[in-house]
Symmetry: C2
């Protein structure tokens, strides 16, 4: 079965967490809204979002069509793919622990988004720039160190070792953590450079994910959407200078 | 086995979604931080949060101790309890659909929180009141109708009927939706009153949850923590007048 991924075509956004899992697992998938083919593209995504096809109704992209079912919410899609494609432990405790880490990453991603959109996602950054400066300063001073420290500690406490978050094999949470760290480097390069010495395990995890053969091939391909100033991770130098 | 719930004692907050599931399922549980017993209370919660006991490390409360495992992240705890206590369908598609709805509720709850804390959760409301007015106005105008409309539509589309979100029986997502609607009534009474005529299915769901015998008994008990101005749902009249 070929999956269908539905996500906005011009940003990595939350869709990228799903794309990384599909790529790392070697799944065949159609990236619907990025396809130039007739009947696909954004109109097809909008049609699905309207729920006119009778399936489970998503609130927002990303969503994944798998046979006759539609699964939405990034962490929920990863829960589904993780169980099907060996990207999470099979036993209940490990499965829940992986999902718990993913949901913490999701909270982190929300906070990263809100550094440039603290007032309204429907307004432009320029319409909330003053508030964004205040929120970003708090994020970089208080929240970012808390998240980085937490995941560094989770890695240190994994007695099964080898540098992954859960057990001895990579899970979808490792892939997502790679994406967050890479995005943070793009958005806040000075802060992340300063933080790197205190978070060596995070740096090693990021390199280890990027070196997985399927991931490495994907990152070089044009299927990978580059970071830009329309997505979650945006480089606005004024937000880093406080 | 008796569960142990760990959450801040003075607010309903995110812990309340877990408490409602435990109560509706008739589970025995110890509300650790609210216990006056020696060795319990907030110090016990803080000790667990530090991870000194060697279990899975939570990022933040709530978390639930179940035997030797600790499960954190509200939606993840509900996924766990739902499977164990019949608060979600057993089949994969229904299980994922219920979880998807729960994760959408979680996003909604985050946005409700940020109406009074758009800049920093570590600052007081009074320190971000101007920004809160702006964010709350956008929330009430754009986001709240979108969420209410979405869940009203999910109820309308449930062909198995009987007024629940998923299939023909209540799930943890129904319990959580009840809590959000009740909290919104507390925080934004005028707006919710105006919205009620257009969302009759939501009103019926709320009454149906409150009428479940175990839930009704719980809501009357002192185990239920009342809404207040320290939690997620706060009544600040100035945020409703725009």
């Amino acid at each position: 079965m070929k999956y269908e991924l539905y996500y906005w075509p011009s940003i990595p956004g939350r869709g990228e967490f799903v794309r990384l899992a599909l790529e790392a697992a070697g799944c065949a998938y159609l990236d619907v809204a990025r396809s130039p083919d007739k009947g696909l593209g954004v109109p097809r995504l909008m049609r699905f979002l309207s729920g006119r096809e009778g399936h489970e109704l998503p609130f927002a992209p990303p969503f994944l069509k798998a046979g006759r079912h539609v699964v939405a919410q990034t962490a929920n899609i990863l829960l589904f793919l993780g169980a099907r494609h060996g990207l999470a432990p099979a036993a209940e405790a490990g499965r829940l622990w992986t999902h718990q880490l993913q949901l913490t990453i999701a909270d982190w991603v929300d906070e990263i988004h809100d550094t440039h959109h603290p007032i309204a996602s429907g307004l432009y950054y320029e319409q909330q720039k003053r508030e964004a400066r205040r929120r970003a300063a708090d994020f970089l001073r208080n929240r970012l160190p808390k998240y980085l420290g937490y995941f560094e500690r989770v890695l240190a406490r994994n007695t099964r070792g080898r540098g992954w978050l859960v057990g001895s094999r990579p899970t979808y949470a490792d892939l997502s953590l790679f994406q967050v760290l890479t995005g943070l480097d793009y958005a806040f390069p000075r802060t992340m450079r300063r933080a790197s010495a205190r978070h060596r395990r995070l740096g090693a995890l990021r390199r280890a994910v990027a070196a997985r053969p399927r991931v490495a091939a994907y990152l070089q391909s044009d299927r990978r959407v580059p970071f830009n100033e329309e997505g979650i991770f945006r480089h606005y130098p004024e937000l880093e200078s406080g």
